[in-house]
Structure formats: structure tokens, C-alpha cells
């Protein structure tokens, strides 16, 4: 039996709050981050953007040395990287790692996400067309997804193993899964798992609309699992969790916020966006089995719940197959912050830990008439609920299925 892995730090920058306390308050209140933004066709559509973010303000609570290094590393960075740095710094401080409790070369850093620089590249394209000589040299570094890893590592002085991982919209969950595996393999003694902020370029957004997965432009919110579900609404967030072996965390006096008790990931053998209930069911069952948890012992599911009809229906079918007559609470954090794409899994893992520790399940504000009977879906208000065991799922285009089990630490 491998040593348990625990979560010891959380950090988040989201459309409903910067920092875990603000995010937790938004979860409790059922606050949403949706607003009209200019769209690619000259009109508007709804999204949950990160607005008014200021790196220096986000780092205000950090210890002076950490704050100085983070500002130095990221002050010229694109917003997605700055948001990742802010989330990582918060998690780092939350875990009590700022004083060198774990040697720098034993700390790992995994960033979940890929194609993170489409918006950045698109902004620079006119400069290139006008005069290639005027493209900033920094572009060569900043146009690479790995700039997230590099800049966060500089901000925190992390020198252990680090890299990106990609699994479309399941990238955030995959970062958690791979961080847990680095720890289990003995490669690191603590690992940051980051879900990177995704800001797709206008052509990527247009193609998502053409694919039919975006909510119609007039739709002011997304409604996971409601009969009105009409497509996803993009959101912008970065999130970070610190993982450590339970024994080492205990010995250094860190607070285990939750145990990452079981993880699973698998493919559907497809290049398409079509979800597979069988593939989703398989990873949910594997993650529960690896955690040694029976489906009937699960109190809460933080579902992928994108509010696309195909996605929600596939997931409800998979949940019905896994849980049968057991009826865990189900909600989708995407009903509050939209679909944060590469960051979604990390955002939702943080939401799960917050609810598990505080004993409630957050609202699905848009949920009035469930898309399918037989599920215990949270309605328009939060519900007090003791949670011992929770399951959080993320699925991605191209048949990426992931599930993680979190248990009270």
C-alpha cells in the first residue's frame, strides 16, 4: 500500500474571487462570474473573464521575499502566466513552504495545460506583419507553454522536476494525477500542480462556436444538468494545489487539507470531441477502487458538467452506472465560473476541498429542471452536507477521461 498523498496548500485566481477565501465565499453564496464580452463576430457573448487582475495586489499577502521574487519573475509576463504565479504563490505560502521546509531540489512543479499562448500569439501577429524586427525577443520565451513552468519556478526558487502535461480540458486534473505519481515514485517530496489559465485566441473561440459547443451568444450563463443546457461558457482561472506524502507533511507540521486518495486517467481511442459514458465510467470506477472506496461511500461528486447537452448527458449516464441507487450530491463549479478549460480540473479540486472542509455543497444556480431523473443534483442554493469522500471528474476533447478521489484528511 503506497503512502497516502495529501493536499497541504491551495491557491486560486478566478472570475469570482482572487485568493481561496474570496473563492470559498463565492462558492457558498453561489456567486457567478458571467458577463457580456465582445465576440469574434463583432457582437457580444457571455463569458466568465478574469477582469481587473493586478499581480502586485494579488501578491499583497505574500511574505516580502516571495513577493519580490514573484514580481521580478512575472512583471513582464502575459496575464495567464501572472495568474498562475499568483495562484502558485498563494498555495506555496498556504502550505508553509516559503521558509524552505522542503529543499528546493525536492520540490516538483507540474503545469496542466497546452496551447496556452494562442491569445498572446494572436495579439502579437499584427506586430509581426508590420515589422518582424519589432517582435519582442521575449516573445520567443513567452510563446511557449513551458513559460508557465519556468516563470513559476523562478518566482518560488523551485529546482526539482518540472514540466507541462496536456489532456485538453482534463489538463488540470492530469496535473494533479502526475504530481501524485511523482511523489509516489519518490522523485520529489512536494509537488505543485497548477491548472493554467486558458485565454483562447479569437479563431479558437470561433472554431469552438462552429463546433457547436459554445452556448448561444444571448445565453447569459451556463446551466449544467438543466434541461436548458445549451453549451459551455468559457471562464478564466488559474489554480494551484500543493501535494505531499502524508507522513512528511505531518512531520513538518503542515495541515493536511484533504487526502488525494485515488486517481485514474484513460483514453477513448478517438480524435473527436464526442464524450463516452463507458470511458468516463471506467476512470470513475478505477479512481474509487484505487482509493479503496465503494461507490456507496461517496458523498459528493464535483462533476465535469460543462452544460453541453452531449457532455452532460454522457456524464449523467456514467454517474448512474457507477452509483446506481447510491445518490451522492452532484454539482458543477462551471455553473459559477464557466469552463476554465485547462485549469478546470485544478479549480474544481480546490472547490471540492473547500466544500469538503466546510461541509456544504455549492449551488447550481441555473438548475431548475434536471436533464435526467434519479440524481441528487444541488439546486439554486447551497446545502449543508457532511462530506467524507468526494469524486471530481474532468474530460477532454480527444477522449481524455480523468477522475480523482478526495477524502477528509
Amino acid at each position: 500500500m503506497p503512502e497516502p498523498v495529501v493536499v497541504t496548500g491551495l491557491g486560486i485566481v478566478s472570475p469570482v474571487g482572487v485568493g481561496v477565501p474570496a473563492f470559498a465565499a463565492a462558492l457558498r453564496a453561489g456567486a457567478t462570474g458571467f458577463r457580456a464580452v465582445p465576440d469574434e463576430a463583432g457582437g457580444t457573448r457571455f463569458a466568465a473573464p478574469l477582469t481587473g487582475f493586478d499581480l502586485a495586489a494579488a501578491l499583497a499577502a505574500a511574505t516580502p521575499g516571495v513577493r519580490r521574487e514573484a514580481l521580478r519573475a512575472a512583471r513582464r509576463s502575459p496575464l495567464p502566466v501572472q495568474a498562475g504565479v499568483a495562484a502558485a504563490v498563494e498555495a506555496w505560502q498556504h502550505a508553509g513552504l516559503a521558509g524552505g521546509a522542503v529543499p528546493a531540489d525536492r520540490v516538483g512543479l507540474i503545469v496542466g495545460g497546452h496551447n496556452l499562448t494562442g491569445g498572446y500569439a494572436f495579439e502579437h501577429h499584427p506586430v509581426y506583419l508590420r515589422q518582424p524586427v519589432y517582435l519582442p525577443a521575449r516573445y520567443a520565451l513567452q510563446v511557449q507553454d513551458t513559460d508557465h513552468v519556468a516563470t513559476i519556478s523562478q518566482a518560488l526558487g523551485v529546482t526539482g522536476e518540472g514540466h507541462t502535461v496536456g489532456a485538453s480540458s482534463a489538463s488540470g486534473n492530469l496535473a494533479l494525477i502526475q504530481a501524485a505519481r511523482l511523489i509516489a515514485a519518490g522523485a520529489v517530496d512536494a509537488c505543485l500542480a497548477v491548472g493554467a489559465l486558458a485565454r483562447p485566441a479569437p479563431p479558437e473561440r470561433a472554431a469552438l462556436a462552429n463546433l457547436g459547443v459554445l452556448a448561444p451568444p444571448a445565453e447569459p450563463a451556463c446551466h449544467p444538468f438543466d434541461r436548458r443546457r445549451a453549451g459551455l461558457v468559457p471562464g478564466e482561472a488559474a489554480a494551484c494545489l500543493v501535494l505531499e506524502p502524508a507522513g512528511a507533511a505531518r512531520r513538518r507540521g503542515a495541515t493536511p487539507l484533504a487526502e488525494l486518495a485515488g486517481v485514474a486517467t484513460g483514453l477513448d481511442a478517438t480524435s473527436l470531441s464526442t464524450p463516452s459514458p463507458a470511458g468516463e465510467e471506467r476512470v470513475m470506477r478505477q479512481a474509487l477502487a484505487r482509493a479503496g472506496v465503494a461507490p456507496s461511500a461517496v458523498d459528493y461528486v464535483n462533476a465535469h458538467g460543462t452544460a453541453t447537452p452531449a457532455g452532460d448527458d454522457a456524464e449523467l449516464a456514467a454517474l448512474a452506472a457507477v452509483f446506481g441507487p447510491a445518490r451522492p450530491w452532484i454539482n458543477s463549479t462551471k455553473g459559477l465560473v464557466g469552463h476554465c478549460l485547462s485549469a478546470a480540473g485544478a479549480v474544481e479540486a480546490i472547490a471540492t476541498v473547500v466544500q469538503l472542509r466546510a461541509g456544504f455543497v455549492h449551488a447550481n444556480p441555473g438548475l431548475r429542471r434536471p436533464a435526467a431523473p434519479g440524481h441528487r443534483l444541488v439546486g439554486a442554493t447551497a446545502v449543508p452536507a457532511p462530506i467524507e469522500v468526494a469524486l471530481s471528474t474532468s474530460f477532454g476533447f480527444g477522449g481524455f477521461n480523468t477522475a480523482v478521489v478526495l477524502r477528509r484528511g
Partner: protein, 79 residues
Amino acid sequence: MDDTEVFAAVRAGIAEVLPEVRPDEVDIDGTLTDLGANSIDRAEIVTLAMQRLGVTVPVAEFRDVHDLRSLVDLLAKHA
């Protein structure tokens, strides 16, 4: 274009890339490295100055630049 205008463009690039540097610290006989610029900062300051001045200078010609004065001279030659 006179050297004053070119130096002003370089100063503007320094102010953008190195916001902690006070204007009175920028000495025409000093270097960007003295001001705390790393290699990427230096390249970016030069690019910003070129863009502001509307000039282009082949990268190879920057080999002989060793301080702000020689940078200003090179940019002025192409202006």
C-alpha cells in the same frame, strides 16, 4: 534625428522594462546591465526603442554595443 531624441526613446524603453529604475540613474556612459537588465530585458529595451524611432537595425550590428552611448550612436546612424 539627433541623439537626444534617440536617447529619449531608449529611456522610454528602460522605463517600460525596468520600472524600478529612476530616470536620474540612467547614465549615457553606463550600461543596461548596470541598471539591472538581464539579456532578455536588454533585447526588449532595444526593440522598443527601434519601434519608437521607426528604425530597424540588423541584430549583428549590436555586437559592438558596449554602453548606452554606443547604443544611441548605432540607433542614430540608422535613423
